[in-house]
């Protein structure tokens, strides 16, 4: 198989993510760019939940965190009711357009499943070719083997009521921000 370059992987990921019915954008790896991209995505929201970054450099969120819409330590009530949540992810998969969200000591996983819209930030350097790579020591220094996480591939969906419906128990919308 031909060796994929970093650029190939990123491009393949962007296409696969769109196929999975996520929306996706690629931005510069700076606090300013991330702040701008996130503000644009949450323009209609009064409040949004932000999980404490664990897999992505905290510094990148430093500007955005200060925004008054952002809630980083939600009450139970806020966790139950706020519609939009932002989390980081520790990896993404080029072939399937999946993002991998950790189950960690923060609210990352909770926010990614309780909200109606999930905005997820991924570092382009952590994109791997195939899902199976998460179970190999050869990728991400074996990070995939050492934690609980979910591959998230597009919005939650069901065909149980007849036609395909998006937005069931999990978010009906997913927006992926790739840091170049």
């Amino acid at each position: 198989m031909p060796v994929q370059t970093h650029v190939d992987l990123v491009n393949q990921f962007l296409l696969s993510a769109v196929d999975s019915v996520a929306t996706v954008e690629k931005i510069a790896r700076t606090p300013e760019a991330l702040n701008e991209a996130l503000l644009k995505e949450i323009a209609d929201e009064q409040f949004v939940l932000l999980s404490q970054p664990d897999d992505i450099d905290k510094e990148l969120f430093s500007l955005f965190e200060k925004n008054e819409k952002v809630i980083t330590y939600p009450t139970g009530e806020q966790l139950k009711t706020i519609r939009t949540g932002i989390t980081d992810s520790f990896c993404a998969v080029a072939k399937t357009g999946s993002v991998c969200v950790s189950v960690n000591k923060y609210l990352t996983s909770a926010i990614s499943m309780l909200t109606r819209k999930h905005i997820v930030v991924v570092d382009s350097r952590t994109i791997v070719p195939r899902p199976a790579d998460l179970f190999s020591e050869n990728y991400l220094e074996g990070k995939g083997l050492s934690k609980s996480f979910s591959f998230i591939t597009g919005p939650s969906a069901t065909a149980d009521m007849g036609p395909l419906v998006r937005g069931v128990h999990g978010p009906g919308q997913i927006h992926i921000i790739v840091l170049d």
Binding site: K80, D133, K147, S150, F151, G167, H169
Partner: protein, 737 residues
Amino acid sequence: MIKSSMQEIHPREVANKGDKENLQKAIGMALEVENDALRLNTQTFNANRYNAIKKLNDYEGLKDRARKIKEKSIENLPELINKLTAAVQSRGGKVYLAKTKEDAAGYVKDVCKSHSAKLVVKAKSITSEEIGLNDSLEKENIEVAETDLAEFILQVSKEQPSHIVAPAIHRSRERISKLFKENFRTAQKLETGEELTKFARDILRQKFLSADVGISGANLIAANEGTILLVESEGNIRLTTQLPAIHIAIAGIEKIIETKKDFGTFIELLAASGTGQQLTTYTNILEPPLNLPVLNLNGRQDTLREFHLVLVDNGRMKMREDRDLYEALYCIRCSACMNVCANFQAVGGHAFGGECYTGGIGGAWTVGTTGKLENGRFAELCTGCSRCIPSCPVQINIPHLNTVIKNRLIKKGEPSLQRKFFGNFSVLARFTSTVPTLSNWAANFYLSKIIFEKVIGFDKRRNIPRFAKSTLTKQYQNYKRDSSIREIESNASTKLILFADVYTNYNNPHIGMAIVKLFEKLGLPVTLSKVMEDGRAAQSQGLIDAAGNSAKRLTRYLLELIADGADLLFAEPSVLSMIRYDYKKFVNDNRLFLKLQNNCYDPMEYLLKIVKEGTLNVDWLKERITNRNIKIFYHGHCQMKSIGIGNSTPDFLEMLGFEVDISIAECCGMAGSFGYKKQYYELSKNVGKDLTKQIRKSQVDGCSIILASGNSCREQIMDELGEEVYHPIEFLHKVIG
């Protein structure tokens, strides 16, 4: 509309199909009430599966690896259980190994009670159905909320699952809408998929936010790491396993594999084979008890996360010791075998299934987990068409499991005249062919049809197979005698022998002669073998010993011919596939089996092969075709497709310049003797309609001739359309001058 007679039959009641009458009722109910939704939904899954496996760049390699991993895991199961127990305990989780279903349900109940649980949220778990969990919790006044939308529907309708991945696959949107309107008092509109989904979601979100305990299943569990794989698309598994502080996972012991490093082999394979996705929306890799904070959104004061893994034996260790049924333990519950199955597409798991395990693989599972052979009677609905075999990601020979169940039912004292009749067709054929005119005359006499139906269950609406006036053996001898003067100039490097199977010899000698004459025109002289029984008919009735004896005799004979330098041609695909796939079980020496595999051919496959090898010039052949302006409809035989030669006939015809419409039906529904049986006539016709609908459409588009390689496929199509259907070789013989 549901007829009043059918309203009385509830899927819960027909679930126990231990006796024949209940099985018949279930088939009737399913055909009448559930058929449309089942066909649409299973065929959508099936088509999506074909698309998804095309995108897997290493499908066959993944299947091989998955098979090996499962073989090794089941072999080392006791050791893996110990390793897994240690791994989960080292993280502070608890493991309970339940010997029986009562044990398992009892343990879960005790855990729930110890936490004073009032409400439990549950993700889809067929194993929890197997152990009767909901009943056992409800008896203790613990409310169980099924959170998978399909299971939610079934909880409202009080039905059993009809499919292991999409348990409400038998319900159309209209029937779900009607069900919800009857059961919930609401002003909300409940018509579209979106409205129905939102309605259920809102109810279930409240349940999630107040549940005390979450109960899930597991797709796979890694012993070394204590890691659980859980795949889903709705998001209910994530909420179930992560919102309440107490999580109980219930899994059969066969779900254990050695290490999570092997998860990579399964996740894409499972998604593609099951729902036809590249990856399920959520593929969860969990090592509970999880380290995420206790949320207590339910208002509880839990301080620690608690995890219980309930490993269910309930007959599995016994299955592991069973020399045939052990293979079912490799199943990863993807449901491909159901979606690809023509009979399942028509009647679903309420007829073709037990209380919770459905479809072809469901027979062995139902017998294994209930301990009662009779509960696996629905294995009768497996015709042995074999379409499930190449679809199975772990390569289970599912038809064999069902043949074994049929066989054990016979041995338990249930042989029937019907089985004997269809299983020993050759004896009958030999006898009646001595007086073909008389037997054909008698066969279509109304009174004899009634007697036939009464005595052996041969449906009187079917035509009794006709015996030719003169057998292939006789016709061939006469032909040779007449043509002995002209010497055939041979350009073949090997000897070609046409196998005189029972059907071709007694019923279809004209096809055998067409092969001989066509090949002769191409400079390929063909001689004829002895008439011998191949064992297919006996096997399809569950008469394994008889099939094995025939197989051994025929193997010896064929190997002699092969040793003598011959290639063998087979007019009947069911016989060819019996030898090329099923004989593996009967021929102990793999080297000899490979010889059979490599030297037995379908005639069209053979022609395509020698064209590709350059021995037969296709342009020379094309020039000899009198009329190439013919559009063909071709139905490939199910078993031919399963041994990988489903495309050779249409490929060859297209190479010759014909336009070919190819049947997309997995099986014609006749499936050997299945469609002749009185009790399966309606089902067989229902399956066949799918195919004939496609033929009618193709005829509108200009197709003028119908070809089918299999004898029973031709019968089925002729019966439905009243039009002639030809073997591809007959057609070529006619058009090549």
